[in-house]
Amino acid sequence: MAINTLLQHGLTGISLGGAYALIAIGYTMVYGILRLINFAHGDIFMMAGYFMIFAIASFPWYVAVPIVLIATILLGVLIERVAYKPLRSAPRMSIMISAIGVSYLLQNLATYLFTALPRGYPSIPFLKKIFQIGELSASLVTIITPVLTLVLVYLLILLINHSKIGMAMRAVSKDFETSQLMGIKINQVISVTFVVGSLLAAIGSILYFTDRMTVFPFSGMLPGLKCFVAAVLGGIGSIPGAVIGGFILGLGETALVAMGYSTFSDAFTFAILIVMLLFRPTGLFGEKVTDKV
């Protein structure tokens, strides 16, 4: 394979990985606290795509972007309030099923409201600037995605490990009632989690769709699932883990397609997951679960 082709593949993989990483963080955060696979996360991401389409229709992009971020955050928090909060004390399976239900609802709602036809994603001019280095050709967003991901993750880790709300998040993740006894407002903490998760999903959505240009009601499904896998791969609950998981998947998938095995690119995602779970059941950076009998 020519070096240019190799570099081009590398660029694709890193950019894809960056977008995966941003979404994966949302999964990992919610899972870390609620022990919930937020199946709807991928669909929140998809809805963010539609928000952008509508926002850009009436505003310049620098106004539209904040609107999209806020709308997505509201949607995320709303979902939490309506579909997860009432199930706080229910068995884990119920809440997971509720998440599947929300995902189903969002997809159907999007189909109903926006039809199954794909819609063109508006291009934010500076992100779409195409640059060319020798034979390599890519838009700016390809480079921005991984860089922005790393910056955001750094900020997020600071928040979680070194702020009071971060400590509260970790406490809530273990035990609601005792956290309450410490005076922690658990609903507030959980909302903050969804705010952060949805914000990252919205940013991820902008980067991802800018690079892939169309949104349709099922746009969120597969990336969502893959990003969950990325989160598990890195060790669910661990933010650096989610990032690394995202990059592993992005690069791995691209490499597989590059080698001509695109048939198995999705299977790869899951195969690597299973292999990982077998050898390190808690993922790369997963917290060790101490099952003290």
Binding site: Y31, R35, I37, V82, A83, P86, L87, A90, R92, M93, S94, M96, I97, S98, I100, G101, V102, Y104, L105, N108, L109, T111, Y112, T115, M221, L225, F228, V229, V232, T263, F264, D266, A267, T269, F270, A271, L273, I274, L277, L278, P281, D291, V293
Partner: protein, 368 residues
């Protein structure tokens, strides 16, 4: 709680079966008028099998597996490949041809269904070994992943001469008789109920409740989990095989994650941990989707077209109903209870009784 005596229950059960058979016979005899209803019932019966199989795993053994679609695919392809009439095969594998070994491999439907179960169970055995060491959500995702891998293999051009890859399989002969769908489904469900009522079923429940304690009671965790998984895979495979016969043509896209979610929703609707719940759930859900079709058509009331009614609305309503069940009716239809004549009797007694006479305080208390 009053109980009916054994004899009455047997009579009632026999009566129920007879009524069901007569009902089906009537529908079958007037096929052209009722083909829609029959097809819904058939599909429900097939889904009931896989829902009960999922419940056996999820509700009774506590293993949350989301691999149903994959195992159904294995069953479906097994049955399809083996039952497509030999003379039609060249036409079915019209692009790449059929593998030599398969060109003449033909089995009657019943044998193919059993083989479908066995293949799925065998796959479950292979997959179960590594995957069952995982807990709850991880297991769910890993099995979901396996289901996707199976699908990827089915669609893979490398296997074109076996699965016909992207082109799918068609010309699968339908059921020789309507009763076969219901008979096989009933038999499968009956077998699963018997397993659950045996000592093995209790062991499964023990694992669901507390793995450490179950192990301390001498229950071999991996063996029993494996057993539950393989049993569930077997029946999932059989139901997948029946689905292939029902659909008459299949491709890898028919076995996407959405199928697994449909089954999951049936189990939830019926009640996790209730076999009869899953059966009711399967019928209700399949029929419900059809009844709700009404929402997809523009509704004109007095010349005024009601704005919301257009295509896609049905699925929105459907998902809302599901959310409502999960949120407000968490235990589903049956909770962990099972249908019983005693239950019906007491239900009727309570409600009819209340209408006729003022109950004594004691009576009410006993029923609460």
């Amino acid at each position: 709680m009053k109980k009916l005596d054994q004899k009455t229950k047997i009579i009632l059960s026999v009566a129920l079966v007879v009524v069901a058979i007569l009902g089906l016979s009537y529908l079958d005899a007037n096929r052209s008028d009722y083909s829609y209803a029959l097809s819904i019932l058939e599909r429900s019966a097939i889904y009931a099998v896989v829902a009960v199989a999922m419940n056996l795993l999820t509700g009774f053994t506590g293993l949350f597996s989301l691999g149903q679609a994959g195992f159904m695919a294995i069953g479906a392809y097994t049955v399809a490949i083996l039952t497509i009439p030999v003379e039609s095969r060249a036409a079915v594998y019209y692009i790449n041809g059929i593998a030599d070994g398969l060109a003449n491999a033909y089995l009657p439907l019943w044998a193919a269904l059993i083989l479908a179960g066995i293949f799925a169970a065998f796959m479950g055995l292979l997959i179960g070994y590594p995957v069952l060491r995982l807990k709850s959500d991880y297991l769910a995702i890993a099995t979901l992943g396996f289901s996707e891998i199976i699908r990827a293999f089915i669609a893979a051009p490398q296997l074109d001469r076996i699965t016909n890859g992207s082109y799918g399989l068609k010309s699968i002969p339908g059921f020789p008789s309507t009763f076969m769908v219901f008979g096989v489904s009933a038999l499968c469900i009956l077998l699963m109920v018997m397993i659950l009522r045996s000592s093995y079923g209790r062991a499964f429940k023990a694992i669901r409740e507390d793995e450490t304690a179950a192990e301390a009671m001498g229950i071999n965790l991996s063996k029993h989990k494996q057993m539950a998984f393989v049993i569930s895979c077997f029946f999932t495979g059989v139901s997948g095989g029946m689905l292939a016969v029902y659909m008459r043509s299949i491709d890898s896209k028919s076995f996407q994650i959405g199928l697994t979610f449909d089954i999951l929703l049936i189990v939830v609707l019926g009640g996790i941990g209730s076999v009869t719940g899953s059966v009711f759930g399967a019928f209700l859900m399949t029929a419900g989707r059809e009844w709700l079709r009404f929402f997809d058509n523009p509704l004109v009331v007095g010349g005024f077209s009601v704005p919301l009614f257009r295509s896609g609305f049905r699925m929105v309503i459907f998902s809302l109903i599901l959310m409502a069940v999960v949120l407000y009716y968490r235990k589903g239809l049956m909770g962990t209870r099972e249908f019983s004549w005693d239950g019906i009797y007491n239900f009727l007694r309570k409600h009819l009784y209340l209408r006729w006479r003022k109950p004594s305080g004691e009576e009410v208390k006993r029923d609460v």
